[in-house]
């Protein structure tokens, strides 16, 4: 006991930790933490006749209690979940597959494929949205003609204009754009697997597909976990692609409305509708809580239990 106290009193105050952390803490607090509390504060007020009143949690009660507001909210949330599910089911498996193929040293022109697949990731949403709108246009698009050329014209529909297809189509466009990210991350994870491990497997007779399944996949699981959580955060903050392709009303009939577009319409208003910063902040707070919950589930439920192999 006395010895411990003696140790701690002898330990010098470590100023450098504070000094080195200060810039990041300051910048982060100013631009992230402070606005977050500002948003929370804004969501507790209401504005009427140019006067601001404190209303407590009333905005949240409206959001969940008023059938019109809650209808729009749940619609956006369900759409958002579907948007995320498509990414998880399509983008990440394809990303892993592409990475596995690219990491095969026998493949020629690997660099070219890698760049070609990664390029859309650095393109603007506006360009991607507009380009795909044109490709899929029933009037001038090349999609109908290309399908016709291979005798599959019957498969073509005005995908972005049908309630049942529009959201999935947009999700797939987003997958097309972003598949390069999981590909690159997993590619890097695959490259970091030491050759000895693979060779040891080969000695045991584990080669080819089963080597991927039994050795490589467990080793890249942490990378897949990180990609999943990045996809989750990205998807639940998504806005731009839907806005660029379908406008703020997220047509047809709000079929592509996700939380981001719902927030935009509420906060800033749209066309004749005037913006309501207070209700908008309430929506933003809920979005924040959804993302926070998702990240926490991941951190405490998955990340901490994940087995790491010492390489």
């Amino acid at each position: 006991m006395t010895q411990e106290q003696a140790t701690s009193s002898r330990r010098p105050i470590r100023w450098h930790i504070g000094v080195f952390l200060a810039p990041a803490v300051l910048v982060y607090s100013t631009f992230m933490i402070f606005p977050l509390f500002g948003t929370l504060q804004l969501s507790l007020f209401t504005t009427s006749e140019q006067q601001t009143y404190f209303v407590g949690l009333d905005n949240f009660r409206t959001l969940f209690g008023d059938p019109r507001w809650s209808g729009a909210f749940w619609n956006a949330l369900v759409n958002n979940l579907w948007f995320f599910v498509i990414h998880m089911l399509v983008q990440n498996p394809i990303g892993i597959l592409l990475a596995a193929v690219l990491s095969n040293p026998k493949l020629r022109m690997r660099g070219f494929y890698r760049s070609a697949i990664f390029v859309p990731t650095i393109m603007s949403f506006v360009i991607v949205g507009f380009a795909w709108k044109l490709i899929l246009s029933p009037l001038w698009g090349i999609a109908p003609d290309m399908l016709k050329a291979v005798g599959l014209k019957f498969l073509f529909a005005p995908y972005l204009g049908k309630e049942e297809y529009a959201l999935t189509t947009l999700a797939l466009i987003s997958v097309w754009q972003y598949v390069g990210i999981p590909m690159m991350l997993i590619y890097a994870a695959l490259l970091s697997i030491p050759q000895e491990v693979i060779e040891a497997g080969e000695v045991e007779g584990v080669t080819g597909f089963s080597a991927f399944w039994k050795i490589k996949l467990p080793l890249i699981l942490p990378a897949i976990g990180i990609i999943s959580i990045l996809t989750f955060v990205g998807n639940f903050n998504a806005f731009d692609l839907v806005y660029a392709a379908q406008g703020a009303l997220a047509g047809p009939n709000y079929a592509t409305d996700i939380l981001g577009t719902f927030l935009y319409r509420t906060f800033f208003g749209f066309q004749m509708q005037l913006g309501d910063p207070n209700m908008g902040s309430a929506v933003a707070m809920i979005m924040f809580l959804i993302i926070l919950t998702g990240v926490c589930i991941y951190l405490f439920g998955i990340q901490m239990r994940m087995t790491r192999y010492q390489l």
Binding site: D66, R68, L160, G161, L249, P252, N253
Partner: protein, 400 residues
């Protein structure tokens, strides 16, 4: 003129930067020639920034003397905040009817704060060659309208109706509001809804949806994903016969289409019915209350209400029609056709703009969605009307 030793310079705030040359070359010289001692400068801002830039300038006291007014709530809030002066007492205000003034008056109509400049009229623009080929003439009743569409469809060379629902607003603006005025009898129905005497579920408000529901099959393949520019191109490239239009299309279409175009007004239910048109107020000019030269500003505004201004403005910008009661003859034949309907029919504005677009859910935006849904067939006319009524009643006391 006695003390006018130095010239007074007035500045006009506007979002119409497209019109800069017209103001500089035609309108302002005409005014200055008659009013020596007053100089006018047209200083527009980019349309998307106009509202915020204007508000900031008004707050800071640096805004111009004359303010271009957007209709309804945008200007009303400026008036309520004390930035716009009343102009209802100007001599030439007598040249404007109540509909023309509605966009820039208080809800009860007691005060008017901008001089109306122009409106846009709705109707249909058609390809005369297509009509000739299909052997059809201009329809005047709803039945004839559908017979025309059917004949063009059978002929097969043209898409009968050039419209899509991807952007949704055309469905409401060129669809519902365009054809609806004939059913709810223009101002009569519109005022009744505002007063809470008529519900949006009334047959007069459901019938336009029922007509829209029949448009889909005439709109060409994939109209669900067809955007507004797609429809414009489809028509000007000569691939479609009829374009549900607003008059603002005229100058663009004149420049692009190489076939002869005509226009016809919204068909009535049965021959000989009284007709109505959507003649939507769009732009006006008001006086900054903080101006240092109120008399010069009033002189200019009064001139804006004159026949000479009406003629100059409407002919410089075909498709933007003067709102005054003067008989303006247009040099552009298509524009003349549109404006000619004013003499035959009753004018009314789009029903969801005054007062009714103030709350959440917003009636205007909701009409976009429901009209598009009805055309696509994912909502019945009755469902759409019920949805609209429920939304309006949720925040508008007279409808509860």
């Amino acid at each position: 003129m006695s003390v006018a030793s130095a010239d007074v310079t007035l500045t006009i705030e506007s979002w119409r930067n497209d019109d800069l040359s017209i103001w500089q070359e035609k309108i302002i010289p005409a005014f200055e020639a008659q009013n020596p001692g007053i100089k006018v400068v047209f200083a527009p801002t980019a349309p998307a920034q106009y509202n915020s830039a204007l508000n900031a300038k008004l707050e800071a006291g640096t805004a111009g003397d004359l303010i271009t007014c957007r209709p309804f709530d945008g200007s009303l809030s400026l008036y309520k905040a004390g930035h716009l002066a009343e102009v209802g007492d100007l001599a030439n205000m007598k040249n404007f009817g109540p509909v023309a003034k509605s966009g820039w008056s208080t809800d009860d109509g007691s005060a008017t704060f901008c001089v109306p400049m122009a409106s846009v009229i709705h109707g249909f623009i058609y390809n005369k060659d297509a009509f000739k080929e299909a052997g059809v003439s201009v329809p005047t009743t709803v039945d004839e309208f559908f017979a025309t569409l059917e004949a063009i469809k059978k002929d097969g060379n043209y898409v009968p109706l050039s419209m899509g629902v991807a952007d949704q607003w055309e469905a409401a603006t060129m669809g519902y509001a365009n054809i609806g005025v004939n059913y709810w009898k223009g101002e009569e129905g519109r005022q009744a809804v505002i007063a809470g005497k008529m519900k949006l579920t009334h047959p007069d408000w459901v019938a336009p949806y029922a007509q829209l529901a029949k448009w889909g099959p005439y709109m060409g393949d994939g109209y669900e994903a067809q955007s507004y520019p797609d429809s414009q191109n489809m028509f000007t490239l000569g691939r479609a016969a009829i374009y549900p239009a607003g008059s603002w299309e005229i100058s663009g279409f004149n420049a692009q289409a190489d076939f002869e175009m005509g226009a016809f007004k919204v068909p009535v239910q049965s021959a000989g019915d009284e007709c109505y048109i959507s003649d939507h107020v769009d732009i006006a000019l008001g006086m900054n209350k903080a101006t240092k030269n109120p008399e010069a500003v009033r002189t200019f505004l009064n001139w804006v209400g004159s026949a000479e201004f009406a003629d100059l403005y409407a002919n410089s910008l075909p498709g933007f029609f003067s709102l005054s009661n003067h008989n303006v003859s247009m040099t552009d034949p298509l524009a003349q056709e549109f404006v000619g309907w004013r003499g035959e029919c009753n004018s009314s504005i789009r029903p969801y703009h005054q007062i009714l677009s103030r709350g959440t859910p917003n009636l205007a935006n909701e009409y976009w969605v429901t009209s598009a849904n009805v055309i696509r067939g994912t909502m019945t006319p009755e469902e759409a009307a019920a949805h609209m009524q429920k939304g309006l009643a949720s925040w508008y006391a007279p409808q509860q």
